[in-house]
């Protein structure tokens, strides 16, 4: 992919955002190529949203260099924003206006002619599967519909880069899948996506490449599969012995698998062959209440890198 794309559209080097003494983002560097789908994965408070706001040219960086589409946000904030689509973490749709009006008004902020905005609004309502809701009040929409409207609004200026801050947080599984489908389409059309998430499955579904962020710094970078390969084993055996016994049992199975993580409610045994590990546990005379063999995920990568689970 890198061979075919000459210049990255986002370049961040040692990006820092400090609020008084607290460094929300502490020396983050990454590059995003045109057409790439890039993720910032990390728990709440990792500095993802702050990074997004700096990339979105609405938050001045404390230090480091940042270039969006070849422009510096300090000098060309409005110009950069004219080429971005932004889906913030909390919907800020205008509840005083109707669904279609939200798009009409928003398009004008980009200086687009009314007729063009009107045409584009109808296309986007179609894309967001909201055509029959065009005249509804925003508050009458479901959470998933509001998100889709926010995405439609972010696309009104036909942006080069779409920034999505936790796009599916708070949505039910069905609404998430509809949204993912829409984002896939955008990706296919060549829109560059930069998204933050604390959902592993979302990152695996949507991101070509991602960085794992924790406490304002990048812990690892790579494609999802590559990160899993690098930081975890092929399979994971999850066993539960009950809250009281987990710690005690952990001592007895210490040597099993490549690595063991003891969580409050379960023990994870990382191995190339989960079933084989389960057999060894049972042979050792232990009887787990439940057991599950699954493939490693980004959750395991995160656990390995930070010693913590993503959603605490």
């Amino acid at each position: 992919m890198w061979g075919t794309v000459p210049e990255p559209v986002i370049v961040a080097e040692n990006l820092v955002k400090r609020y008084k003494e607290f460094a929300a983002v502490d020396g983050v560097s990454f590059e995003v190529a045109a057409g790439e789908s890039f993720g910032l994965l990390g728990p709440n408070g990792a500095g993802k949203s702050t990074t997004m706001r700096m990339v979105g040219a609405v938050s001045t960086r404390t230090a480091g260099t940042l270039s969006i589409l070849g422009m510096d946000p300090d000098r060309h904030g409005p110009e950069i924003r004219s080429r971005l689509g932004v889906v913030p973490q909390a919907d800020n749709l205008d509840t005083e206006l109707r669904v279609r009006e939200n798009l009409l008004v928003y398009g004008r902020y980009f200086g687009l002619p009314r007729a063009q905005v009107a045409r584009r609004a109808d296309e986007l309502l179609e894309f967001a599967q909201l055509t029959d809701k065009a005249k509804s009040k925003v508050d009458a929409l479901s959470g998933g519909m509001k998100r889709r409207l926010t995405i439609a609004r972010a696309l009104i200026n036909d942006p080069s880069i779409l920034l999505l801050d936790e796009p599916t947080t708070g949505l039910d599984p069905q609404a998430r899948h509809i949204l993912w489908d829409r984002l896939f389409r955008l990706k296919e059309q060549g829109t560059t996506l930069l998204l933050t998430t604390h959902y592993m499955d979302e990152a695996e579904q949507l991101c070509d490449r991602l960085v794992v962020v924790d406490k304002g710094v990048i812990m690892a970078e790579g494609a999802p599969a590559e990160l899993i390969r690098r930081y975890s084993s092929r399979e994971v055996l999850e066993v539960r012995f009950g809250s009281d016994l987990n710690a005690e049992v952990a001592g007895r199975i210490a040597g099993m698998g490549d690595r063991i993580e003891v969580l409050p409610d379960r023990i994870l045994i990382y191995s190339e062959n989960g079933e084989a590990e389960l057999v060894r546990i049972i042979d050792a005379g232990l009887r787990p209440i439940t057991s599950l063999v699954r493939r490693s995920s980004l959750e395991d990568v995160f656990l390995r890198l930070t010693g913590r689970t993503l959603i605490e």
Binding site: V58, S59, L69, G70, M71, P78, S82, V105, G111
Partner: protein
């Protein structure tokens, strides 16, 4: 030139419009929102002058004029005396609505300002857009008010229409400061209600609205001197019936109100820039 440089150049060219007209796009948004409560705007714009001019200018005036004669106050009828003051108060009423709740809304309750700022709109343009839209609504309200003043026969001077602009300046001067103060509020724990009760109401009562400031004891007259409404009311009277005062005092009214407007506007722009850049 690389593709990225070309793209950057295109973006810079395309954004010139927004850099120039962004404030108007924000005003456009406000007008669209106002449409959703257009009925209230129209009903108050027509209802207020009718009620107030009738109650004060006809009702109360009958009593005043009966006791003090047709040149009851400051050489004119009570109706002519009170009408320009009511006009200025009407502008203050619009200011107290439009410079408060839409600001709280945009920053906090339904944070549309953040959405505008995520588009190419700059924080200062958001404030400008608010000022533009409120000016328009105030102009309509004061224009209608003035028309009713004419109907009631409350405007002796041919230059009376200038009172509309005096009222406008009053509303904007006071409103700009109110807007800036509101912009600093991260939470409305009753501050705005306090402003209505302890700033706007006393200001209306003690700014020479219903009786000349000179009637008050000296130790209360300072309220008038710092009150934008008093300055606006006096200016409005100069135009409406040629109230006599030194020319420097009239100039002072204009300067004072313009200074408040400039101060509040600049302050609000700064607060907006600080709040939106998190």
């Amino acid at each position: 030139m690389s593709t990225l440089e070309t793209a950057a150049d295109d973006a810079i060219r395309a954004t010139r419009r927004v850099r120039r007209w962004g404030s108007w796009y924000v005003a456009e948004h406000r007008f669209r929102v106002m449409r959703s409560y257009a009925q209230t705007v129209v009903v108050t714009a027509i209802g207020n002058p009718v009620i107030y001019l009738y109650a004060m200018g006809v009702g109360l005036a009958t009593l005043v004029d009966a006791n003090l004669g047709p040149d009851a106050v400051a050489g004119v009828s009570y109706l002519a005396f009170v009408a320009p003051a009511l006009l200025a108060s009407a502008a203050i009423t619009v200011a107290s609505e439009e410079f408060t709740y839409p600001i709280m809304l945009g920053f906090k309750w339904n944070p549309v300002f953040y959405g505008m700022n995520a588009a190419p709109i700059e924080p200062g343009q958001i404030i400008n857009g608010i000022v533009i839209s409120v000016t328009a609504r105030m102009l309509v309200t004061c224009g209608i008010y003035y028309a009713f003043m004419l109907v009631f026969g409350a405007v002796p001077s041919p230059a009376g229409f200038l009172a509309v602009f005096a009222a406008l300046l009053t509303g904007l001067g006071f409103g700009a400061v109110l807007m800036a103060y509101t912009a600093t509020l991260t939470e409305d724990t009753g501050q705005l209600a306090m402003v209505m009760r302890f700033v706007i109401l006393p200001m209306t009562l003690f700014s020479g609205t219903f009786f000349p400031l000179s009637v008050l004891p000296g130790w209360l007259q300072w309220i008038g001197w710092i009150s934008p409404l008093w300055h606006g009311t006096q200016l409005s009277r100069v135009f409406a019936y040629g109230a006599e005062e030194p020319i420097w005092l009239s100039a002072l009214h204009v300067l004072y109100l313009a200074a408040l407007l400039g101060l509040g506007w600049t302050w609000a722009r700064r607060v907006a820039a600080r709040r939106l850049n998190r």
